[in-house]
């Protein structure tokens, strides 16, 4: 009885106290995010309306920098490079990650499975700078890959693979492959084995089972892998800068260089464009996957009816 009474009074007073408690709990995170994150981004965003003339910034409120960015074919070429590299990396990592995830998901021996998993995720623990350095060594004129190519008789003097898009793509695939393997592994391990067995019993061959059962069931994983790798690629800086050596211009490299030149208005506009395009790509891939899956289930349903 006493306790019930205590609870009742607690109910009445707790309204106020929980408000205070909530605010107190949220305050540190709000202060950090509000000042450092939102504050920083707002000040940076404000610079996009300034002008940059004759090597110095002019405080203003106009859209000239936006016009300069969107109207200049140089920037469009650069945007094209950024998207082309991202698309190539996404394509190759999907092509390599799918069989790898498929093998890992299907392995029965826990020892080999653990080893392959470690091998896949180990690169994630190593700094992008270190991995880019490894690729610099491999891809350089006198590096291992060229030595291999010469040995195989493919070339006499070696290919130029550093400081161009090829090198950047090869290194970026290495860096982002784990991000593609993880979502694929997630869906492939959940896929029900009985469905495959049923298809097999009904006379479907290996390939047919794969294309009608396994691949459609892993569409969700493919979509999230593509989304993650594509957006990470669009915003990747370290590898294009180190492997590209300033000769492969992507948006993040441009933002870095403009910042060093203290052309903050242009850096701000390019940043805004980069952010907007990575959000748009995410939405697009998500909607696309939803649409594909919806269409599949609907046509499937109609066939049954």
């Amino acid at each position: 009885m006493m306790r019930a009474a205590g609870r009742l009074t607690g109910l009445f007073t707790s309204g106020n106290r929980s408000w205070a408690a909530q605010l107190l709990l949220l305050l540190p995170a709000l202060a950090l995010m509000g000042v450092v994150y939102l504050g920083g981004l707002l000040i940076f965003g404000r610079y996009s309306f300034d002008l940059y003339e004759n090597g110095r910034m002019v405080r203003d409120w106009n859209l000239d920098t936006y016009r300069a960015f969107l109207g200049d074919p140089y920037y469009w070429k650069l945007i094209g490079t950024t998207f082309r590299v991202a698309a190539l990396v996404t394509f190759w990592s999907l092509l390599l990650a799918y069989p790898l995830a498929y093998v890992i998901a299907g392995l029965k021996s826990p020892g080999i499975k653990q080893t392959l998993l470690l091998l896949t995720f180990l690169p994630l623990l190593v700094s992008a700078v270190v991995r880019s350095y490894g690729w610099q060594l491999l891809l350089s004129r006198q590096g291992f890959i060229n030595w291999l190519f010469i040995r195989l008789g493919l070339t006499d003097s070696g290919f130029e693979m550093m400081y161009n898009e090829t090198g950047v793509v090869v290194a970026l695939v290495h860096i982002f492959l784990p991000f593609m393997v993880f979502p694929l592994l997630n869906v492939l391990t959940q896929t029900d084995g009985t469905l495959k067995a049923a298809a097999h019993d009904l006379g479907a061959g290996k390939w047919r089972t794969f294309f009608t059962i396994t691949l459609p069931l892993s569409a969700r994983g493919i979509a999230s892998g593509v989304q993650i790798v594509f957006t990470l690629c669009l915003t990747a800086f370290t590898t294009p800068q180190l492997i590209g050596g300033g000769r492969v211009m992507t948006l993040p490299v441009l933002i870095y260089q403009r910042t060093l030149d203290t052309n903050w208005p242009m850096a701000a506009v390019a940043s805004l464009f980069l952010f907007a395009s990575s959000i748009l790509v995410s939405l697009f891939v998500n909607k696309g996957a939803d649409w594909l899956m919806f269409r599949r289930t609907r046509t499937g349903g109609q066939k049954h009816a």
Binding site: A21, L25, L119, L125, S127, V129, Y133, T235
Partner: protein, 279 residues
């Protein structure tokens, strides 16, 4: 039929092995280069030597950079753990208007391009007159790893059974006492998980640190990055090998702790169950 099946498996395994090799190749190459006697990175190396390792002691800047990295990462992770856990308590336990929006705001650094954040930090911290130092980097990195803490600790909190907390309350414990004696011990594992992921992430952060920091407070990746742009001797390889060894040691230490600590399975299982009905 049987033979075809085996062949097909064999092809798949070879392919997976080749991809594994591709993943390992740069790390192996770095190891080889760190042992090569020539100063230029050339394959095959002229000879093998440990000379570059013994010279590492002379490179004071890398040692200092390692110390800076440790300070900055530890600081940022601690800051993110404290603020993130407190925020997760509020977001999970109370429902208030705009809760979803607030959560989305706290999670948004994940999708923000790091280079954009780097420039924003540079401008902000210059205006606050703290640019160039480790304190600025700690603040900036804490924002970047806050989403990890919020999502991992938040989902652990949501899966906690309220019975224990209610029992403690019925026995007369105040909210603070309940947090420190009941909730915090239950969160130990997810805090460790969030902390270690965040630590690895901040330790390797390039974009923000490169723009904020000045000479003298460079972290290890930045020191390497700038060294690589100027010189090409095997010192970089030696430092990289040390870094890889450090990452491996960290990984196995975390794995050991997680394996000895009970309850991770229930944590993961609980999350899967929660996701189940939605799909």
């Amino acid at each position: 039929m049987r033979r075809g099946n085996r062949n097909y498996k064999w092809v798949l395994y070879t392919f997976a092995g080749l991809i594994g090799l591709y993943l390992l190749l740069p790390l192996l190459m770095i190891l080889l280069t760190s042992l090569s006697s020539g100063s230029a990175s050339k394959f095959p190396p002229e000879g093998l030597t440990l000379e570059w390792y013994s010279k590492l002691g002379e490179q004071k800047q890398f040692l200092e950079a390692f110390r800076n990295s440790m300070i900055a990462s530890a600081g940022a992770v601690l800051l993110a753990l404290v603020t993130g856990t407190l925020a997760a308590l509020a977001i999970v336990n109370y429902s208030f208007p705009g809760r979803g929006l607030l959560r989305a705001f706290f999670m948004s650094p994940m999708v923000m391009p790091k280079i954009t954040l780097g420039v924003a930090y540079l401008i902000l911290f210059s205006k606050m007159h703290i640019a160039g130092g480790l304190f600025a980097l700690i603040l900036g990195e804490a924002v970047i790893v806050l989403p990890f803490v919020l999502s991992i600790v938040g989902s652990a909190l949501a899966n906690l059974n309220p019975v224990h907390r209610e029992a403690a309350a019925d026995l007369g414990a105040g909210p603070l006492k309940i947090f420190f004696t009941v909730t915090l011990p239950q969160l130990k594992l997810s805090l460790l998980l969030a902390g270690s992921i965040a630590f690895v992430f901040t330790f390797d952060q390039v974009e923000t640190a490169l723009l904020i920091l000045r000479q003298g407070s460079y972290t290890l990746p930045i020191q390497l990055f700038l060294y690589m742009e100027k010189w090409q001797d095997p010192t970089v390889a030696v430092v990289s090998v040390v870094l890889i060894a450090f990452a491996l040691a960290l990984f196995f230490a975390i794995k050991l702790v997680i394996r000895t600590a009970p309850g991770l399975d229930t944590l993961a299982g609980g999350r899967q169950n929660k996701g189940g009905p939605k799909t």
